[in-house]
């Protein structure tokens, strides 16, 4: 139903099944959807990442082939960027694609390919020229996951199962027609895509307004439970109480900062420097919050499975462990701080 009306991709052109709405109109739709607490119709790499890239860099043939399927949810995409030896230094990637007639032969390993085991296609960065500056020999390539030589292995995290996979390419033959943009110009495409990813992350944070008053305190309630004090009684452990207040206040200060950025944007101001802190602060705050939840539970916070721990306790353990990765994925906190120091503060290299 949603895809028929073009609501899945409200800002994409109508000819590919999009809604053809302007940015402002899309925002209204988005707000309505949030107000009604409707789920996003189809969250995925296709819609939010490769779709916009195809609109910007794809050929007409490429758009025709993929966009409609993305909107209808017929094919699922995963992302092939990171490699075992290139984490923060993405441009050092080693997966090789060698031209062979109308095809490329791809060899290498990608990691952190979310839902690689379920995806139909992968968009990958591959090295097509090893003899130039590292950013200049990279190509952006679409690969059908059914192609012989593609193998996928799920990655288990310290928190347990995850959507992440390791995807290997052993002499995988990919048509050169699947190159997006120019050969060896993949870095430009990748950077644009990272831009889409950032706006997605900002959107994610931006969905909250500055927080509100009477919503109670989840961590305060949790502490009341584990310190075994009656409802509405103050916590007898003032040190724990101070930590809870600090984490809550971090969260509120962050929400207010996101709101400030949005209010400024609405008022027609250029994006201020504050948006540069969103990723690092949101993830570091989430780490502290999930760690504190485990700390509040004391010995009962140590469950992994089975008897003696309730479902919420077990979920909190996993959430705490999973959150450790927040400051690594999508650009480590260290990289974020480097970026702030350089681009916002203008500190010298």
């Amino acid at each position: 139903r949603c895809s028929e009306k073009g609501f899945t991709a409200p800002q994409w052109p109508r000819e590919y099944g999009g809604g053809g709405l302007s940015s402002a109109e899309a925002k209204v739709l988005d707000q309505e959807r949030r107000r009604l607490a409707l789920p996003d119709p189809l969250i995925g790499f296709g819609l939010t990442m490769i779709g916009p890239v195809l609109l910007q860099f794809g050929t007409e043939a490429q758009r025709q082939e993929h966009l409609t399927k993305i909107i209808r949810g017929e094919i699922r995409w995963c992302q092939g960027y990171s490699e075992p030896d290139s984490g923060s230094d993405l441009a050092s990637l080693q997966t090789r694609a060698v031209r062979d007639g109308d095809d490329f032969i791809v060899n290498g390993t990608k990691v952190w390919t979310s839902y690689g085991d379920l995806a139909d296609w992968i968009f990958a960065l591959v090295r097509t020229d090893p003899d130039v500056k590292k950013q200049e020999g990279i190509t952006f390539l679409l690969i059908d996951m059914e192609t012989p030589g593609v193998s996928v292995r799920p990655i288990q995290l310290i928190s347990g199962k995850s959507p992440f996979c390791e995807t290997r390419f052993d002499d995988v033959r990919v048509p050169a027609a699947n190159v997006i943009g120019e050969v060896n110009a993949g870095w430009t495409v990748a950077k644009a895509l990272l831009g889409h990813e950032r706006s997605m992350i900002a959107d994610l944070f931006g969905s909250q307004r500055g927080g509100s008053a009477g919503t109670g305190s989840p961590l305060g309630n949790l502490a009341r439970h584990y310190l075994d004090v009656p409802e509405d009684a103050p916590l007898p452990d003032a040190v724990l109480r101070d930590k809870i207040a600090a984490v809550e206040m971090d969260g509120r200060a962050f929400s207010l900062t996101v709101q400030r950025a949005r209010d400024a944007a609405k008022a027609g101001h250029q994006p201020g420097p504050e948006s540069s802190l969103f990723k690092v602060y949101a993830t570091e705050t989430n780490k502290r919050r999930s760690e504190l939840a485990v700390e509040i539970a004391g010995p009962q916070g140590l469950g992994w499975e089975g008897p003696g721990f309730d479902a919420e306790e077990l979920a909190r353990t996993r959430a705490w462990l999973r959150a450790r990765g927040n400051s690594i994925e999508g650009g480590t906190s260290e990289i974020q701080l480097n970026i702030i120091a350089k681009r916002v503060l203008g500190l010298p290299d």
Binding site: S212, T257, D263, A264, A267
Partner: protein, 380 residues
């Protein structure tokens, strides 16, 4: 609540920044200190600020004010905070002035607020006592009925700009024990009333303050500010407003201190490179940047919430005071460390920021006290 400056506020910010840059460099503050100036600020400059309309910002037009709010006053106090201007916005406009505005009779308001807004009179709040720390309920100073009026006895310390005040708003206890929540009453006391002794105190931040001793000081019935025994809520409302202003000042202070440190990191060369190229310092600078940005959001939100009488205004004030206190201490401590030896010398200005940050952080509730209040208000 919109967390963005209106066009009028932008204009005010620009005017204030220009004025402060031109008329109130840090050198002015230094000169006042070095001279041991008995007033501690410039009455001439204050009169100019009154003429610019700044003193009257949070007062109604009836007394000559601008009928604006803390959102506007915060813009001015941030600008003044950047260069450590010691003029008495906190003491006279907020602590003393808002007490009279929120609690005073029409007669008291017209008697005191009109000259205050005109820059001709000063008010101060005599609240702090040697043992009261951050507890607004803790009041040892007692007021007893005496004829038609009252007789006050007690000791007040660090009465900000109390040494120049034309009237003191004295927090006294008309019933109950020293730490009771109830029984607090406010009085308007003129410093030349019999039994009132005022002496100048000297704080680390060089801001003017006075010790006020009330030895059976006699005041008339018209000295009562607000209702008898209802001073607790009034005081809390006044201190919340004052804290918004103090936070705005701290925001300006930390932003400027950070900017100066950033400039130093770019200029200072050691081992053949600017020290700002060292990654450890870069990351610490980025952490400071984050804290300053978050503090700004909190100050804007607190000011707007108080102006709007929002339900969560008290929470947002405590959020702002906790964060601004911690952030200002972080930034000023790091500033001294990053400046190295020169930052430890009195002749460099950066130490002034450290001292003022500490004094502001430890006034009207430190960060821990406001986190505790946040938890109280959060019901845990």
């Amino acid at each position: 609540m919109q967390l963005v400056l209106t066009e009028d506020q932008e204009l005010l910010a620009k005017t204030a920044a220009d004025f402060v840059e031109e008329r109130s460099p840090v050198a002015r503050f230094r000169a006042l200190r070095d001279a041991g100036d008995p007033v501690g600020f410039s009455k001439t400059l204050w009169k100019e600020m009154a003429e610019l309309g700044w003193v009257g910002i949070p007062f109604p037009e009836a007394v000559g004010g601008a009928g604006m709010g803390l959102s506007e006053l915060a813009v001015v106090m941030e600008a003044l905070g950047r260069r450590l201007a010691p003029e008495p916005f906190l003491s006279s406009v907020l602590l003393g002035g808002q007490a009279v505005l929120l609690g005073g009779s029409d007669a008291q308001q017209s008697r005191w607020l009109a000259p205050l807004v005109a820059g001709d009179a000063f008010l101060a709040l005599a609240q702090q006592e040697p043992r009261s720390r951050y507890d607004l309920h803790r009041v040892a100073c007692r007021a007893e009925r005496s004829g038609a009026g009252w007789r006050l006895t007690g000791e007040k310390v660090q009465v900000l700009d109390g040494h120049v005040a034309d009237a003191l708003v004295v927090v006294a206890r008309t019933s109950g024990a020293e730490s009771d929540a109830e029984g607090v009453t406010l009085f308007l006391v003129e410093p030349d009333a019999p039994g009132v002794m005022c002496e100048r105190q000297h704080r680390v931040d060089t801001r003017g303050a006075a010790r006020v001793v009330l030895a059976e000081a006699e005041v008339g019935a018209d000295a009562l500010l607000g209702a008898e025994g209802q001073g607790g809520a009034l005081l809390a409302a006044v201190v919340d407003r004052a804290n918004v202003g103090l936070c705005a000042e701290l925001l300006g202070l930390m932003a400027e201190c950070f900017a100066r440190t950033l400039a130093y990191l770019k200029d200072r060369v050691q081992f053949g490179v600017p020290i700002g190229s060292f990654q450890a310092l870069k990351h610490r600078a980025a952490e400071m940047f984050i804290e300053v940005e978050l503090a700004r959001s909190c100050v804007m939100a607190a000011a707007r919430a108080v102006d709007a009488g929002a339900e969560d205004a008290a929470k947002l004030v405590s959020l702002a005071k906790a964060r601004c206190s911690d952030a200002a201490l972080l930034v000023t401590n790091e500033a001294v460390q990053m400046h190295g030896g020169i930052g430890m010398t009195d002749e460099h200005d950066i130490g002034f920021y450290l001292k003022r940050a500490r004094a502001a952080a430890q006034s009207f509730g430190d960060a821990a006290a406001h986190r505790s209040r946040w938890a109280d208000l959060g019901g845990y």
